[in-house]
Symmetry: C2
Subunit: 331 residues, 2 copies
Amino acid sequence: MDRVEIKEKKIVGIDLGGTTFKVGVIDFSGKLLYKSDTNTPVELGDKAVLNRIIEKVDEAIEKLKIDKKEILGIGMGAPGILDIENGINIFSPNLKWNNVNMVAPIKEHFNVPVFIENDVRVAALGEKRFGSGKGRRYMIFIALGTGIGSGIIINGELFRGSIGGGGEIGHMVIDSNGPRCNCGNYGCFEALAGGPAIVARAEKAIKNGYKTEILELANNNISNITPALIYQAAKNGDKVALEIFRETSFYLGLGFVTLTNIFNPECIIVGGGISRSWDILMPPVIQMVKTRGFPRSRDVVEILPSSLGEDAGVIGAGVLVIERIEKEEKI
Amino acid sequence: MDRVEIKEKKIVGIDLGGTTFKVGVIDFSGKLLYKSDTNTPVELGDKAVLNRIIEKVDEAIEKLKIDKKEILGIGMGAPGILDIENGINIFSPNLKWNNVNMVAPIKEHFNVPVFIENDVRVAALGEKRFGSGKGRRYMIFIALGTGIGSGIIINGELFRGSIGGGGEIGHMVIDSNGPRCNCGNYGCFEALAGGPAIVARAEKAIKNGYKTEILELANNNISNITPALIYQAAKNGDKVALEIFRETSFYLGLGFVTLTNIFNPECIIVGGGISRSWDILMPPVIQMVKTRGFPRSRDVVEILPSSLGEDAGVIGAGVLVIERIEKEEKI
């Protein structure tokens, strides 16, 4: 295929999560031509999940009224530990998968190249090529949610580490006396700045008798509290909620300082559900990086919100295909 | 030049420090054919320092009885912030240099390619090619001294960051309530595990009235205390000294866990003066990484002493030349 011919083709991106999966179709300019969102039938097992994905890709092709031959390749972002060379999801608690070949069934059905990569890394690729990180060669994409994950771009390339375990920034130690993390370690970044840590601060305040609007917003049921509710209370000026964000921003800032000093990135792009609290959460983080970061590195780093948002995953999964094809065909 | 011709040449490596500088000559197998160690005449200014270096390189060539034409290139590791493309040392407190062209005078005299790089990164290159990291593509070289510096190798290449500021691991935040660091931040890795932090623990213990052999070894003068003396006391079974090492190993371990989780390296190689306390300092660090590190990454990482030791700098400076020439000439 020549360069022009390739550039007219379409790319399928799949963003697979434990709750829903998204199917998108993009062109070489990163334009999202089509997107669907479907429940992931985890309870029916891996074969059912992969079949549902195939159906939804077929549906996308049908609805777009394009020929299957127009599809250049399929990229898929997924949670878990992946063997990307062999297309295997080695272990994913979210999908309840163990050693599942995610590539073979899809490749067989569509007869195009299929590539997989960790979901957060895929989102990072999307932001790098078509989002807030456009044109940057050194960037970190951070997904703030229940966990804190990252996709790190070094010299324009995705950084994976020696066996694909690189970028576990949620498990940097930022507090020598910190609380226990799900990983078994203590004082991890995500144990102090992830969603459950934010909720735990609200629960503690309520149990200690502090008056806060958070409880009302949660219909007086402490187990209904979410970071989004705490944000809502903070927006309403609730002092407890504001203090919870102040504390969270502090720990988040420590992690951002460490990342700035180690990676000297051009930008840190922040996505994930918690990043929707940007106006309250992030200004103190940016301030901390600019004052406590290492000279020069702190000056160059820009801290930006994700511009692709919810679509970073499907677009990034498409970029996975584009960049592999570019490398191989040198287009 | 053909491949064989190049491989028969010699390379000059210079390890420039604020106290002394070393000149070495190596061959393509990394063999150190010659080495000299000279006081750095910092007080005489940059021109005098560079002239002294030129004299010592001339002396090396003379003593080895080789022709100047046999020298393929000169590599130099130096402290400070470097503009490696233009050969400028932008700022080095150790050398008292501001915007000094380190390359031009040397290049003019010898008429061969001259390359510069940060001193710790150069040592990392040496360990990667000819030392403990031989054959590794993902490794971190850590220099434990007054400060804690690193040279990080990613996919076989030196990692520099967007403007050369990458790898400042001494300034990872590992303690949210930690002491102030020289950089202005709080709780930095080197403020808790660097040489001065170790000495400060001894001073504090003595001021608090603890009986320890450290003071005797320092001739009853608290300002004579060094990490080496504390190590000597610990070797003699001194309980205060052992407790100082236990605390230092704890903080060192937190930093090593963070690096393991973020970089997923094949190995972490430890050099620098403080690493001479290996038998007491490092076993608890290794134990912490193996138990508190993230699964898989903690299993693959090997923590090893530098095998080039004092020579990592001069050999690595030579490797800087070898790798540049290899890239350009594709040998």
